[in-house]
Amino acid sequence: MNYEQLIHETALADERLLVMTAENRALIRNLPGPLGARFIDTGITEQTMIGAAAGLALRGRVPVVHALATFLTLRAFEFIRTDVGIGNLPVKISAFVPGFLSDGNGPTHQAIEDVSLMRGIPGMTVFAPADEQDMLAMLPAIWASPSPAYVRVNTRPATYQHEPFVMGKAEIVSEGTDITILTYGMLFEQALIAKDLLTEAGYSVGLVNLRSLKPLDTEAVLNVVRGGSLVVTLEDHFQTGGLYSILAELLLENELTAKVLPLALKERWYKPGLLSEVLEYEGFTGQHIARRIGERLGDGVHSFGAKTKVVENEFAE
């Protein structure tokens, strides 16, 4: 089962489901034939696509819309906020190549403020699967929900056997007393590697795959904070407005404090290139993540010297 097969199967079972795209067909190339009129390509018009999706949703449809994450959340932001958001309509946004996944495209294509923007819209839900298997586990519940939804599409092969998805619940991979890494999306894969490296170095390491940023599994996150370990917020997103901000808001609301290490993009776009180059240069491979956490803990013993091999992305529009 892949993304295209899942959407095809769901559309066959539920006539409300429609597929729309602003000429981003990478994951849905084979659907025009089987879906017929329920496959709508509006051309390179993110705003018109979102407006039309709102109109279709008004008529009882559940449009799953496809375009690059950055153009959807930025070019069409006001249409998402004003038509989908104010209307509180079940438009399901499949945002392609978010975060580091736009690899070689450059800053124009870097959706690294998308979580910040989408979670600010009342009623909008925000999801970031760790890999393809995680995404396929999550999408049926996301599409079945009456809420508008933003999904950071991630088709990278799984390196971890995920639990079934429960709406609003995080996946607790491990609990740790020294360090807990909170992460979402494609960096989960690197976080797993970092966890193993740090564990080998003798640390007790927790890892949480958040899956859903809104609604947030506040119980899971507060448990981590109360556990007293160093909390690492790891994200391919600007440091402002993403997970680090979400955690800060939660801490303030609960009159708590914590030792937090943000690993995010602070006031900068990232250097474009092959994914392995990006992660290496920006310090987001498993090795670099472990090294940066070790530095924060004042670890002068372990070097975390073995370079992490990164599976390249397969980009297509």
Binding site: Q47, T48, A54, L56, L58, R59
Partner: protein
Amino acid sequence: MTSEKKQALSELALRVREHIVRLSTDGGCFTGASLSCADLLVYLYADFLNVHPGNLTDPERDYLFLSKGHDVPALYGTFAELGFMPKERLSNHLKSNDSIYWHPNRAVPGVEFHSGSLGHLPSVALGVALDARMRGQNQKVIVITGDGELNEGTCWEALLVASAHKVNNLTIVVDRNHFQANIATEDLIPLEPLAPKFEAFGAVVKRIDGHDFAALEEAFTALPFSPDKPSVIICDTVRGRGLPSIERRADRWFCNFSSEEITSLLKELHSQEATNLTSETLTVR
């Protein structure tokens, strides 16, 4: 169009204009832009569209989307007169106990979708038109835009997509009152020649006097203009129509009048329409 029908529509339009004037105080409203499309909305709801208080959830009803949302006094005035809502509800204008404010809200029966930000509803209407076609229904889907609103690229983008998908059940109606917010359209972002622009984007276009009920009937009853293209009707109108003291004035887009001014404007309104109306109507006023 029979003279009786014309008379009835004129009387209805006068009552709608009274509502618009009465809403132009205690905070005010977009008076000029509402007066320009009052005749259009009265014709559409009273005579043309298959939509009335009894069929607002019928999926086969006709749809009207008001993309230039600031003329909502004309829409609500029409709704109040046609029984979509009690007339007294208009007195909730700008009060927190209701959703009657400067742009349309779906809490008011008959409003298909909220608007206020320009250039949105052509694409929302396109989505509704696509769904109606998918379901084999043949109702009309109409979206009214302002002429200043046509500055927004998304109006043209939506038409481009509608043409590509041969959406013939979508009609874009332009309230061509020749003014943007603060300035004449042709002095800021000239739109003319307008009809050829729409034709170049793939629509079939008719251009009419938007205050002439017979012309409105002739144009709308000819829809769709093509079996495989969207339709556009450009309604040439006058901003502030019905009140010569504010007609065609750049500074009478948004108005907030004193109660004395409202009294005098109502008087002016009635004196203007006198030639077209029966003595009975005028004594009722």
